[in-house]
Structure formats: structure tokens, C-alpha cells
Amino acid sequence: MAGLELLSDQGYRLDGRKATELRKVQARMGVFAQADGSAYLEQGNTKALAVVYGPHEMRGSRSRALHDRAVINCQYSMATFSTAERKRRPHGDRKSTEMSLHLKQTFEAAVMTQLFPRSQIDIYVKILQSDGGNYSVCVNAATLAVIDAGIPMRDYVCACTVGFVDETPLADLCYAEESGGVSSLALALLPRGGQIALVQMDARLHQDHLETLIEAAMTACKSVSKVLDEVVRQHLQEASVLSRE
């Protein structure tokens, strides 16, 4: 018996948001000096750190190199203290491998890899605190890190999850909502052209509702992109002020 009422009759969600409202997004770029690019992003209580190295020469086996574009190497991990119960999370478990793969696919679609043949770009993302929407937070953080590294991209990649409750799409689910039995969909979008980089959903949903759900996800992604854009501009301004001095 699912106890929680995810969307009240007055249209409020558990944490007081309305159906289309996102969680508060805060981000900072260039948090580490050692890496080529880095970013820290909070979306509500989900916090992620993304670091980018490259493009650089292929490391390890050279046979994986592609002759016409760069290889993107993604690694996703969660901190042991990221959830309510402390849990050791070894690298390479199923969930994080899958997540790494999704991230890789997302960024292959967004980064202009053909500019860097025979080279490699590494993207490392770590979840510091998890409160739902891990994939989308990772994508958003990684986008900022890639921009910080100065790697050309077609567009920002913005991601957002949406859930479907009572015939209403809910944007940007938190953990309580995700675990409350909502069928959720994660979507990564290149907002300017409206191209979808990745859609992922593993719950049951009636076909008729899919369109509204994707529509809602795209709107949410576009609002995320506005926030990211602001962060980038702010960062640029700060950086230029610093360099002028």
C-alpha cells in the first residue's frame, strides 16, 4: 500500500513544489585546477562533481582509438556517504556501469568528437549526495565541466527526469517521488535544436501518455538550460575579470 500522496488535490507535491517546478539548481565551474575542466552542481539535494580530462592521446590500449573522431570515456560513481545508509560501492557494479554507458552515449551525441581524431576525452562524475534524478544531475554537471574544459559542443546537453502521476507529468523527481512507484522517464536534450540525445525509461506507461510526458521533459530541460547558460556566463565574467587583472 503506497502511503504517500505524490500530488495533492491542490496540486502540491511532497516538498511543496507544483507539478512543473524544478528543484533549485546551483552550480559552480572550475572547481579544480588540476583537471582540464570541472564543475560542481546541486539540484535540490542531489549533488554531483564532474571532472573532464582531454582531449588527449589515447591511454592504455591504442587499438581502441578511432581514426575519425575522439573516444569519450565516462566513469560514474557514487560516494559511500551519498545515501541515507552508508554503503560501499565498488567500481564497476551493474548500476554504475549502465549509468556510465548512458553518459557516454549522451556526450557522444553532443561533443563535436570529429574535431579530435585518434584522441580521448575522459569524463568522471561522482555523486556526492543522492536525492533522485542522479542521471540528469550527472549530465548537467558534466556539460558544465566539458564547457569549462573548452571542448566544443553542438549545444548544452540538459537532462531532466519526469514522472507521471494522476495523468499529470511531474518535473524533476526527488528520491521520495522516484521510490514512490512513479513511472519515470529521463531525457537529455540539446535545447536549441530540440534534438533528443537520450531517452531512458524502464517503467510501464500507456502509449497515449508518452507524448505529453516527453513534452513536459523537454520543457523542463529547456528551463535547466537557461540556468546552466547563466552559470556559464557568470563564470566567464568572473574569469575575464580575473584575467584582466
Partner: protein, 1044 residues
């Protein structure tokens, strides 16, 4: 606008304590839902009026414990806080849903304020603060915010049970008062005694609960997760608990639709025996049962029982069936119950235990309820509405509290109210606001058709001869007919015009909501509760003669020769009915008899003759068409089921002076046939327009095994009944006629009816198309369209048809019709209301029968002796039917002391010691006076007496006094001398009622009568409602309208 804030929660999952951090967003603008709002809140939906003296904000604890008090409609301006709402949510879904329904109900003046999402009314919980304290603080902060938000224009009263809070908060703010619940009710609603009583009884029940705590009487229920897992794995079976009516103490069954599919073993349900294994489940609860090992399985008891004290023996049982015990309750289905307070002796009255009373529910299937009350003495022998609060495992009986006192047991008004409440029928008088929505039609301000509206409708006033045929004295005429020749006689045009109720009742209006919740007009034996206010049902919607009325019409163009349909037209029309005929008059006109048509009385003879011949011509054409339609359906296998329809004759004061069974005239069938045809065509139309959300009516084919009794009984009488299809059944029933005794055929038809399943409303999206079939009428699609004045389903169909016509015209329908899910929900609601209406009607009929016989002494009064016919044989007795009174019941061949019925040489029967042997078609008693045999379809004489019980409904008991037919019941019983006697006894007699035993013409000569007492409204309605309801619904409904 949004600020993020964090709250800490301590939460345990899988038993472990976990610290969880959740976000909490606050905003400045949270709608306040008050008409006084100055800040421009987005208040859509229900809004609290500004003209109240105060708004009341109940504390979380008050909402938790006294929601019932707050549910009273009289309490206005209630602001529920989100804090309280969430506290209720943690108590249980059932309570929360109650609050949700309350908030949605437009008749109720209350709103929800999301105080925890408002920036200024939110207070974070402090370290070490208890939850209750924090909730009280939140609610108070909300009240203060509300007061400031409305700029001090409205005083706020916060009610709480926490006396500490009263002293702490009451002096902090000037416009916000904090007081206790009792004080609040006393000072603000002194006139509302009901609220104070209710408060008192709930409070006492709560105190009792705290004081409780002794040893366990029942095993604990398993936790919900275990149950859920068990049901999934198949270890437990889930279903609804049905307590057996006759053995409420011991026998109960758990049945569910899903059972049969899983294993054929369980299709008949699971037996739950004894109160220990029932484990506190109450009739109607959704429970999980665990099956016992096969060795412990028991069978049902088939012997006729004489009350709960009946001893039981092993050989009365059928073969063992799955038996189980209840391990958990998934959902309680408690409703309001009527109980009777027992009489008590004076010695007891002073003790403390005297405050706790075991009250006996009216429904035998419900266990006794323990009620603690101060008024136990005052309420002796009163019927009281109670609610069950809880049933802890330490108690043998559930705890409850009283809600409302109905009155002394045995009084007519009390009993009728009991019948209503036991069937969850709630029919308050129409409220002021609802009546304000109604159009006015008074002598000063007569209602007239709106010219704009009239222009949009097809005007049939000049072109068509429209007339209605109804029972005499009918007020709510919802159907009229017209017929005319077109194209030089090559075509016929048949029209059915139905009152356009939906024109007056807009969807979503208060009247509509009320009609929806009533779903039907309720007919009891002595009164009627209308679905719509009288101004509509008896006046503006009623298609009375000689006045302009709006109608919804279906018109067919038929080929004059073959009567094939060439064209159908649906639409809104404006009509003026020329004649308001009644059945007898119409039949007389058809038969060419001299008859006075009141509408023509004042015309000169020449004109009258012309008009009369025109009318007769129309009636004849109509009859011709109806015969054809009937034949068409007969070929498809339509059933003619037995039903006695009783008609009440009214005098000027609307008192019923006589009950006359409706004589089966052909014109009845003609009208019914036209209505069925209209219903059928409308069903086709709306199903085509809305394939997934049309409201239709289906009658599923009966289960074959239910026919076994019918087939066996018929075989005993020498007939074979083929039940494979409806056509075969109809044909074989027609053949099964005993020329000696016409009652045999009637009984067989009655039994066939009993085997039938109920016809149901449904939404077309919820059933596969092959399930749409109407078995009884032999139509592939059927719905109800012709009686919108007294059935809500018809109003829904009218709206669907309107929407379908709009779609056809290419216009966007104003409001899309409800989706499949909503429609199915609505259909379920209407079905359940219809069942309740039917049960209430049955119960009230039984009630009046009992009152009738209670007045007379069974030993001396000749009316208590009647002729009965045996229609079923049981182990220790037979079931009989008394045609004179339409009563069915058991007759025992062996009584509790083991004595059996012995028939003497003069065929009188008395109790003697002996034995009973049961055979398939007869039952034999052996005694000192020799043996007596009772065969199926034998006529015997029985004496009717009333078995009075204090707590339950009275029942009629039948006792055999002779194994020969009752002579007095024969047709030769003189009618007229009796009548003159009656006239002499004017003081005692309200009138005289006649009952004609059968619908066959040759039997209609039988005239019987019985007396009625003078008490107001006291008369007996002798009819078989169950059969009546299963007849064609329209015809049945027509009989119903007469009872007005």
C-alpha cells in the same frame, strides 16, 4: 518566489532508524480560498463565503478524532490545515479519503489551506519538540496568518483539545481565539444539538479505548506487508466477507471475482466458520483468509433454520467446501449501522458498567456493538444510528459510538428510517441553494419557452399529434408518443418524446450533484423520495397535456408495409402533448368502447368525433407497430418474466384507497415496446459516437447451475425446461402450463426470474463488445433513455446523446464527456444505488406486511389463513408461496421440539412426535396419526402470524393447518357483502384493497380483498418487487411511478 529550506526527518525503513533529509519549498503565494481575500489569491474552486461570523481552524488532533463532528453540513467556514490533513493521512487512507471527499463536496463549506508551504505560516519543528506540540503550533501559526491575510476582516477560531495550548495561545493575538471543542460548540452553535451529542459520544468512545486492556480474545491480524506477500504467493485468498443471513453467528463466506480463475475449487467461495476464525471481520470487509487443511473442511448447512438457536447436526451439511480462517483485514467496509438499545433492569443502572451497553444491530449479520453512553437509560428500546470505531483483539465485540437517535423501535417512522439507513440511502430535503437553481413556474410568473431556445429546437407543436399514456393519476410524465403517416401513406413516422431534463439541470450544478448522489427516485411502500425537486419532476419536465414542453425526441421513418426502418432522427424538440391518456382509457378507445376523453369533453360533437377518430387511428397504428416489434424481439428470444404489478388508487388527499394489480392490457405492452425500441436505438447511437465511454445497460446470461432448481421442480410437475439459450427458455416456459392450475406456470416463471442475474449499467470501454448483450430483452445493445425524471442514468444518456449530435454537426462539444474510468465509476455508483433502492423497497414492503398482520389475531382472524402452494422441498420443511398476499416463506414440517406435522382424516394438521422423510419431489411425515405427504405444487392452507423481535425486522411465520387447499381463498369468496361490512367499519378501515391473483385474464376474475387499518399511511402493498424490477425496466418503472 521559491526559497529552499530543508527539514530533517527521522524515518525507519526495514526497521532501522534512518535520518533522511528532505527538501521543503516555501512560497509566498498560497491560495487562501476565502471570498474576503484582498491579495488576489488564485482561488479557483470552492471558496469560503465572506458573510460568516468567523472561520474555524481545527487542530490536528481534533481533525483526527472528531472529523465526524466537522463533517456536519451545518458547521460553516472550516479551514483545514495541511498539517492536520497529513496527521490524518498517517492514521489511514480511509480517513484521509473521507476528508478529501468532504473538501470536494460543494455542499460543504470547508477548504484546505496548505500552511506548510506558505513562507510565513510555516514553522520548522524544533529540537525535542513533540509532534503534537509542533502540529498545534503550526495550526496556530496558520490561523494567525489567515487572520492577517484577510486584513482582520474575519475572526478566526482555533479549536483544540490541548488545554495547554488554549492557555498559551489564546491571549497572543486579538482576532484569533483558541478554545476547546466543547466550548466552541456550546458558544458558537448552541442550536446544533446533534453536533454536541456526536461530540460527546465520540469522546466517550475515545476514553473507553484508553482505559481498555485485558486479555486477548482473538489472534492478532498479520501486518499489511505479510498479507500482501501472502496474497501474491497464493498462500492467502483475498475476498469480501459475506456473512450468512440465517447463521450469522457461525457461517460466513469469502467470495471474490478473482477466485474462480485461480482454482476451480474456490469458485463457490471459502467458508469461514465460527467467530474465532472470522477474527473480527465484519460483513462486507475485504479480508485475507488462510485455507485450513482439507481434513478440517466443512459443508454448508441446508436445513431450514429456526433462528440462531437452532441445533445443528452433521447430516444436514452438503459436501465439504474449502474452509479457512481470516488472518487479516485489507479494508474495513464499515458504514452506519442501526442498532437497538436493549432494555435493562434498574439494579444495573447505577454501576459504572451501565455506561457500556451491548446494542444489537438491526442487520443480523453485524455483531453486537459495544457503546459507552450516559444516555443508556433514556435510549432503551430506541433505534440508534451507530458507527463502529475499532475492534481490538482484546474485546469480544467491536466498540462504537452513537450518532443519531431514530426513535422508539416498532414505530412506523423509526422503522422506515431504519430501512433507509441500513441501505445507505441519504435523502435530505433539497437545500435552499439547490432550489434557487430551479426555474420558476408560479401563477404570477408562469414559465414559458424561451424564444431563442425554441428556435433552436424542432417545433412539433403544429405538425405532430403527441400524446402520453400513463397510469392514472401520474404526475411525472416523462414519455410521450406520436405517430403519423408520411408520403401519402407509404411511410409511417413513429416518435418517442422524452422530457428534456438535462436542459434544466446543467452538468455539475448543485441539483445535478444531488441527483447524481441519489441516482434514482426511491419508492417505498408509503412514500417516495424524488431524485429531482418537485418543480422539475412534477411540473416543468413533466410532459403534461396542453402546455409547451421541451423534449428529447427519437423519430423513426418506417416503411408502411414491411415496417422496416428507413430513417432515424434524434434531437431536441418543442412539443405540446394533446392528450394525457391513461392505460384503461387508451385500451377502451382501442376496443371501440364508449369512453370519455377529458380533453375533448368541452368540444361540440362534430369536432369531437373527428378528433376522436384521429386519436383512435393513431393508437391503432401504434399497436400495429408495437406488435411487429414485439414479434421481432420474440424471435430473438426475449423473455416474458412473471411479475405482479400493483397499482394504487388515490383519492383527493393522495391517500391510497385501494391496491389493484394492473390488469395486463395490450396497451401496456405497446407503450413498453416503443420505449424499449427508443432505448435500443439511442444505445446504438451513443455507442457509435463514443465507443469507449457510452453508458449502456447489459443483462448478462445467467449461470446455468442456478437453473437446476427450476429444472428439477419443473420435472416434478412433468415439464421439461430447456435453459440453454434465452429463446429455448422462453419457449419451454410457454409450454409449461398446467391447465388445472395456472399458478404452476407463474411459479416456474418466478423461479426462472430468481435464477437471472441483475441487469447492470456499464461503460462501453470497460467490457468487451460481446458482453453488451441484454439477455432478458434479447437486444445486442440497450440503455436507459426514457425516464430521466427518476433515473440519473437516463440523464447521463441524454447528455451523451446531445454530445453525439453536436459531434455529428461538427461543432465542438461544450464539455467532453467523461472518460471511460469516470463513466465506469458512475455506472458502479448507479448500480449500487439501484440495488439499495430495490432492497429498501423490499424491506418496506415486508415491513408493511408485518404491520398488517400484527394488528390481527392469527387464531381468530380469517384473513390470517390463506391458501399456499409448495414450490420447493427442504430437509425439514417446504417453501411456499401465498398468491393472495404475494408472500413467500418456509413452512416447517418438524419444529424445534422434534414434533412433526401430522394430518388427520379431516385433513387438519397438528404437531405430533414422528419422523420426516424427504424425497426429491415430496416430503412425508410419519406420526401416530398416520403419514402425510406434501408434494410440489400441492395447495395447502397456512396460518400467517408475525414473529416479533425487538431488535430486528419482524418476520412473518407460516404454519400449516391443513393439507387441503384453503376454501375461503377460492374465487367464490363473496366480494360485495364484505364491502358493505367495511363501510360500516369506517372508523377502523381506511379503504379496501383488492388483489387479483394473476395476470392471466381467466384468473383475473378472482377478487380478493383484505382490510386495512386506519393508522395514517398504514396499508399493505402486496407485490413482488424483485420480480417487478426484473421485468422490463420501463414497465416496472411505470408501476413504480403510480405509487406517488
Amino acid at each position: 518566489m521559491i526559497k529552499t529550506e530543508k527539514v530533517l526527518h527521522l524515518k525507519s525503513s526495514r526497521g532501522r532508524k534512518v535520518r533522511v533529509v528532505r527538501e521543503h519549498y516555501l512560497r509566498e503565494r498560497v491560495p487562501c480560498f476565502s471570498a474576503l481575500c484582498q491579495a488576489g489569491c488564485e482561488n479557483d474552486g470552492k471558496v469560503l463565503p465572506g458573510d460568516l461570523t468567523h472561520y474555524v481552524v481545527p487542530d490536528a488532533e481534533v481533525v483526527l478524532n472528531y472529523l465526524e463532528v466537522l463533517e456536519l453540513v451545518e458547521l460553516q467556514g472550516v479551514v483545514f490545515t495541511q498539517t492536520a490533513c497529513q496527521a490524518l493521512h498517517s492514521k489511514g487512507r480511509r480517513f484521509y479519503n473521507r476528508l478529501r471527499n468532504l473538501l470536494k463536496d460543494p455542499r460543504h463549506d470547508c477548504v484546505l489551506f496548505a500552511n506548510e508551504f506558505q513562507e510565513f505560516s510555516y514553522c520548522p519543528r524544533e529540537k525535542g519538540e513533540s509532534q503534537e506540540k509542533w502540529q498545534t503550533r503550526c495550526v496556530y501559526a496558520a490561523a494567525v496568518w489567515y487572520y492577517n491575510h484577510l486584513a482582520g476582516m474575519m475572526n478566526l477560531v482555533m479549536i483544540t483539545e490541548d488545554l495547554d495550548a488554549v492557555s498559551r495561545f489564546s491571549s497572543l493575538n486579538s482576532g484569533v481565539y483558541v478554545i476547546g471543542v466543547q466550548e466552541y460548540l456550546q458558544s458558537f452553535w448552541p442550536a446544533l444539538q446533534a453536533a454536541q451529542d456526536l461530540y460527546g459520544s465520540v469522546r466517550q468512545a475515545l476514553q473507553e479505548k484508553e482505559a481498555d486492556g485485558s486479555q486477548r480474545e482473538f489472534p492478532e491480524h498479520l501486518p499489511a506487508q505479510v498479507l500482501e506477500a501472502g496474497i501474491k504467493s497464493g498462500r492467502f485468498v483475498q475476498g469480501t466477507l459475506n456473512v450468512s443471513k440465517h447463521r450469522a453467528q457461525n457461517e460466513a463466506f469469502v467470495t471474490s471475482d478473482g477466485l474462480s480463475s485461480k482454482s476451480p475449487d474456490l469458485s463457490a467461495g471459502v467458508l469461514v466458520e465460527g467467530s474465532k476464525s472470522r477474527n473480527r471481520a465484519v460483513h462486507g470487509d475485504l479480508v485475507a483468509v488462510e485455507l485450513l487443511p482439507k481434513a478440517e473442511w466443512r459443508g454448508k448447512v441446508t436445513a431450514l433454520s429456526e433462528g440462531p438457536a437452532d441445533e445443528r447436526s452433521g447430516d444436514d451439511e452438503t459436501k465439504p467446501m474449502p474452509t479457512g480462517r481470516v488472518v487479516g483485514i485489507l479494508q474495513r467496509n464499515w458504514r452506519d449501522y442501526v442498532v437497538t438499545f436493549p432494555p435493562r433492569d434498574a439494579a444495573q443502572a447505577q454501576s459504572r458498567a451501565a455506561q457500556r451497553v451491548l446494542a444489537v444491530p438491526w442487520d443480523r449479520r453485524i455483531p453486537k456493538v459495544r457503546i459507552s453512553t450516559q444516555q443508556a437509560d433514556a435510549l432503551q428500546d430506541h433505534r440508534v444510528v451507530v458507527r463502529i470505531d475499532s475492534w481490538p483483539s482484546t474485546s469480544l465485540y467491536p466498540n462504537g459510538h452513537s450518532v443519531r437517535v431514530l426513535g422508539r423501535a416498532g414505530e412506523l417512522e423509526t422503522e422506515v428510517q431504519t430501512v433507509l439507513i441500513e441501505n445507505c440511502i441519504h435523502v435530505p430535503p433539497f437545500s435552499e441553494a439547490q432550489l434557487r437553481e430551479m426555474p420558476v413556474n408560479s401563477p404570477e410568473k408562469p414559465w414559458a419557452a424561451d424564444p431563442a431556445e425554441a428556435a433552436a429546437r424542432r417545433d412539433l407543436r403544429q405538425t405532430h399529434l403527441v400524446f402520453s399514456i400513463d397510469p392514472q393519476g401520474c404526475e411525472d410524465v416523462d414519455d410521450t408518443l406520436s405517430v403519423r403517416r408520411l408520403a401519402g401513406g407509404k411511410l409511417l413516422e413513429l416518435g418517442v418524446h422524452i422530457a428534456d431534463v438535462t436542459h434544466f439541470v446543467r452538468e455539475g450544478s448543485l441539483t445535478d450533484l444531488e441527483a447524481r448522489s441519489r441516482a434514482t427516485t426511491y419508492y417505498l411502500a408509503d412514500r417516495r423520495y424524488d431524485m429531482l425537486p418537485a418543480v422539475l419532476s412534477a411540473d416543468l419536465c413533466s410532459l403534461l397535456g396542453g402546455v409547451d414542453r421541451y423534449a428529447m425526441s427519437v423519430m423513426w421513418e418506417l416503411d408502411a408495409q414491411s415496417l422496416a426502418v428507413t430513417k432515424v432522427w434524434f434531437g431536441r424538440t418543442l412539443i405540446r402533448s394533446s392528450y394525457q391518456l391513461h392505460y384503461e382509457l387508451a385500451q377502451a378507445l382501442l376496443n371501440g368502447e364508449e369512453a370519455q376523453v377529458p380533453e375533448l369533453a368541452r368540444l361540440d360533437p362534430e369536432e369531437r368525433d373527428a378528433k376522436l377518430s384521429e386519436l383512435i387511428q393513431a393508437l391503432e397504428t401504434l399497436t400495429h407497430i408495437a406488435r411487429h416489434l414485439r414479434a421481432q424481439r420474440d424471435r430473438g428470444g426475449a423473455l416474458e418474466l412473471e411479475g405482479v404489478e400493483v397499482r394504487a388508487q388515490l383519492d383527493q388527499d393522495k391517500n391510497i384507497t385501494a391496491l389493484v394489480p394492473r390488469q395486463p392490457l395490450e396497451v401496456h405492452e405497446t407503450v413498453a415496446e416503443c420505449m424499449i425500441y427508443a432505448n435500443h436505438w439511442v444505445a446504438r447511437k451513443i455507442q457509435e459516437a463514443f465507443p469507449y465511454q457510452a453508458l449502456l445497460r447489459r443483462h448478462p446470461p445467467p449461470r446455468q447451475e442456478l437453473f437446476s432448481q427450476l429444472v428439477d421442480t419443473a420435472r416434478a410437475a412433468g415439464f421439461s425446461i430447456d435453459t440453454r439459450t434465452n429463446k429455448a427458455l422462453a419457449d419451454s416456459l410457454d409450454r409449461a402450463v398446467d391447465p388445472e392450475d395456472p399458478l404452476v406456470n407463474r411459479l416456474l416463471r418466478m423461479m426462472a426470474t430468481q435464477a437471472m442475474s441483475q441487469a447492470l449499467y456499464f461503460s462501453t470501454g470497460a467490457q468487451p463488445e460481446d458482453q453488451f448483450y441484454h439477455y432478458g430483452l434479447a437486444l445486442d445493445r440497450y440503455t436507459h433513455f426514457t425516464s430521466p425524471i427518476r433515473r440519473y442514468a437516463d440523464m447521463v444518456v441524454h447528455r451523451l446523446l446531445t454530445a453525439a449530435l453536436q459531434l455529428e454537426r461538427g461543432a465542438e462539444p461544450g464539455k467532453p464527456p467523461a472518460g471511460n474510468k469516470d463513466m465506469e465509476e458512475l455506472a458502479e455508483h448507479i448500480n449500487s444505488r439501484n440495488r439499495a433502492a430495490q432492497r429498501a423497497q423490499n424491506l418496506s414492503t415486508g415491513l408493511f406486511q408485518c404491520l398488517f398482520f400484527k394488528e390481527r389475531d392469527p387464531e381468530t382472524d380469517p384473513r390470517c389463513v390463506a391458501d399456499a402452494i409448495i414450490y420447493s422441498i427442504r430437509d425439514n420443511g417446504v417453501l411456499v408461496f401465498i398468491p393472495e398476499y404475494g408472500v413467500k416463506g418456509p413452512v416447517y414440517m418438524r419444529n424445534k421440539e422434534g414434533l412433526v406435522v401430522a394430518a388427520g382424516p379431516d385433513s387438519t394438521c397438528e404437531w405430533q412426535s414422528g419422523s420426516v422423510r424427504r424425497h426429491s419431489d415430496h416430503i412425508t411425515t410419519m406420526s401416530g396419526r398416520g403419514s402425510a405427504t406434501f408434494r410440489l405444487f400441492d395447495h395447502i392452507t397456512v396460518r400467517i402470524s408475525v414473529l416479533s423481535t425487538n431488535c430486528h425486522a419482524d418476520t412473518l411465520t407460516l404454519q400449516v393447518i391443513s393439507n387441503q387447499p384453503h376454501l375461503g381463498a377460492a374465487p367464490q369468496r363473496p366480494g360485495s357483502p364484505r364491502r358493505s361490512q367495511l363501510v360500516q367499519e369506517v372508523v377502523r378501515l381506511a379503504g379496501e384493497a383488492q388483489e387479483k391473483a394473476a395476470r392471466r385474464p381467466e384468473l383475473s376474475k378472482e377478487e380478493r380483498e383484505f382490510r386495512q387499518s386506519r393508522t395514517p399511511n398504514l396499508y399493505s402493498l402486496l407485490e413482488e418487487i424483485r420480480e417487478l424490477a426484473l421485468m422490463d425496466p420501463d414497465a416496472a418503472a411505470r408501476a413504480g411511478t403510480v405509487m406517488a
